[in-house]
């Protein structure tokens, strides 16, 4: 069964259409990247899957179930999203504990204290952070909290919207390693938006390149090592990012 299937997906914001005819299939357990420049519509695709951009036509199914246009509760336990900016994705007046207990309260799950503790351990946060407010945490710690919140409901599919682009380089590596470990341990499926090609080669199995609201090419992440892209836009994007610095120039 595929984790995410998108068929003929068109997405608009009001009268403006921003994404055209996206067809995509992400296998369960796969880590898939959407890359492209700013404004290419990659985050919009993610939002449509999550239910935050309800204005779309076509078909979206997650784990074999077609999804409606709005946000719905049952969907929340299957698919969660981590946002780009850890400074904007945590409520400034709520402690880490409250943030992590909230999904459990919404879905009426018990044993909250123990679950919160386990999750803090799973994302590598010390227990002493449990009752801190966001302003008492660093960017990387906040992003760990955001990841923990997304994982509280045990989703199978995670949508990652540039989860490290707002962080320092050294912290980026920590978060990427954490995401990689969590995926291995919990068998998660990732659909990740990024414009950083090295992150794709580090994290992902396959990638789709988007340009001006369309997918121009779907390629395995290994193509980043040998530069075997078919589409001219992808080739120029690859060249602009510096190609593969390790690759020997053989010609």
């Amino acid at each position: 069964m595929s984790a995410i299937v998108l068929k003929n997906l068109d997405i608009s914001y009001g009268a403006t259409k921003v994404v055209w005819d996206v067809n995509l299939e992400v296998a369960e357990g796969e880590s898939f990247a959407l890359v492209g420049e700013s404004g290419s519509g990659k985050s919009t695709v993610l939002k449509a899957i999550a239910g935050l951009a309800p204005d779309w036509t076509g078909e979206i199914s997650v784990l074999g179930q077609k999804r409606g246009h709005g946000v719905d509760r049952a969907f929340a336990t299957r698919c969660q999203m981590v946002f780009q900016d850890p400074y904007g994705s945590l409520h400034p007046r709520k402690t880490v504990d409250t943030v992590l207990s909230e999904p459990l309260q919404v879905h009426g799950l018990g044993n909250r204290g123990a679950r919160v503790k386990d999750m803090l351990a799973a994302v590598g946060l010390d227990q002493r952070f449990r009752f801190r407010f966001p302003h008492q945490l660093s960017g990387g710690q906040r992003q760990r909290v955001a990841i923990a919140r997304a994982l509280m409901l045990d989703p199978r599919v995670m949508l990652l919207d540039e989860p490290t682009s707002a962080l320092d380089v050294s912290v980026q590596a920590e978060i990427l390693n954490l995401l990689k470990r969590l995926r291995r341990e919990q068998g998660l499926t990732y659909l990740m938006v990024t414009h950083n090609l090295p992150i794709v080669s580090f994290m992902c199995d396959r990638m789709a390149v988007m340009n001006k609201g369309r997918i121009v090419e779907i390629a395995p992440a290994t193509a980043l090592h040998d530069g075997r892209f078919n589409d001219p836009y992808t080739q120029s994007l690859y060249a602009a990012s510096g190609g593969n610095p390790d690759r020997k120039v053989t010609t």
Binding site: V71, R73, M81, F83, G88, S89, E102, R132, F133
Partner: protein, 301 residues
């Protein structure tokens, strides 16, 4: 003492209670650092104490007349003099604190939550809800506060309760506007989206996530508006539409003293001082609260 302080300021609180107490303590400390805020708080404390212990503080009855001692100037016996019916003005000012406090508290309790809720709903849902609610708000905002209150009192009949209702009805639109503006700044923010994605209902988002972020600016605004509320109540009293005689309401007292303002200045001046002092107290406190209620302030030392 220092251990309690350490416990409160602990960087890694061990429980929800400690985290909340700690942030309250930090806020209190920020408040205390500003001398004007402390003065404001003290004035209000005095007002509350005066209201609570009026029968013990006031040397005379606020209503008892003594026609032999009419219009006496301030003296050791009558600290603020007496009015045209020989009533002790100091006693009346002290008892008046009760009425002022009641007006202020009731108006705050009625209008602030009402405005907050309407503003938050309006800002959060947007679209037609927003247009309809803000339309109503604009209608109320477009009319001068005192005139509208006058109209309400005229319709409901004079009296302190009706004055309170009139002031409450006329003061919520400003709060709705603020709450809406505040809500608009974060309605599309990611922490709200995150709760929606977790399956949280609109009700939960508004009550648990939107309202707590609006309340601090609301508290500041209400505190700063208290002065205006007191003045409106006094204005209604002055026009004879608020508290009715013989209630010792400050505005009504000024109104009565107007007749003698040239020869017996103390009759109108003493309650006037009380109004100024309390208004000032609320303003000082409001300014201090504005600085302290910023959540990011807590971390800075």
């Amino acid at each position: 003492m220092s251990t309690t302080k350490d416990w409160l300021l602990d960087d890694s609180p061990a429980s929800r209670l400690q985290a909340n107490l700690g942030s309250s303590y930090r806020m209190l400390r920020t408040l205390m650092r500003n001398p004007l805020t402390v003065i404001g708080a003290l004035i209000l404390l005095v007002l509350i104490l005066a209201a609570a212990f009026a029968p013990w503080i006031a040397p005379y009855s606020p209503l008892g007349q003594d026609l032999g001692a009419r219009l006496l100037p301030p003296s050791a016996q009558h600290w603020m003099g007496t009015d045209e019916l020989g009533r002790d003005i100091f006693s009346r000012v002290i008892y008046g604190a009760r009425i002022t406090l009641m007006i202020v508290a009731l108006v705050a309790v009625i209008s602030a939550p009402l405005g907050l809720l309407i503003g938050a709903i309006s800002g959060y849902f947007g679209g037609w809800t927003d247009k309809a609610l803000m339309g109503v708000t604009d209608v109320f905002l477009s009319m001068p506060k005192l005139i509208l209150a006058l109209a309400f009192v005229a319709a409901l009949g004079p009296g302190i309760e009706n004055a309170i209702i009139a002031i409450a009805i006329t003061s919520w639109p400003a709060y709705a506007r603020i709450a809406r503006a505040e809500t608009l700044t974060f309605r599309n923010s990611e922490f709200i989206s995150a709760v929606r994605l977790l399956g949280g209902s609109h009700f939960r988002i508004i009550t648990r996530h939107v309202l707590p972020l609006c309340t601090s600016s609301m508290i500041v605004r209400v505190t700063l508006d208290m002065a205006g509320i007191i003045l409106t109540a006094a204005g209604l009293g002055f026009l004879g539409l608020g508290a009715q005689p013989p209630l010792p309401e400050w505005g009504a007292m000024i109104s009565r003293g107007r007749t003698f303002i040239l020869d017996q200045w103390w009759v109108a001046t003493m309650p006037g001082f009380a109004i100024i002092l309390v208004s000032l107290g609320f303003c000082f406190l409001g300014d201090g609260l504005r600085d302290a209620l910023d959540p990011k302030q807590g971390g800075k030392e």
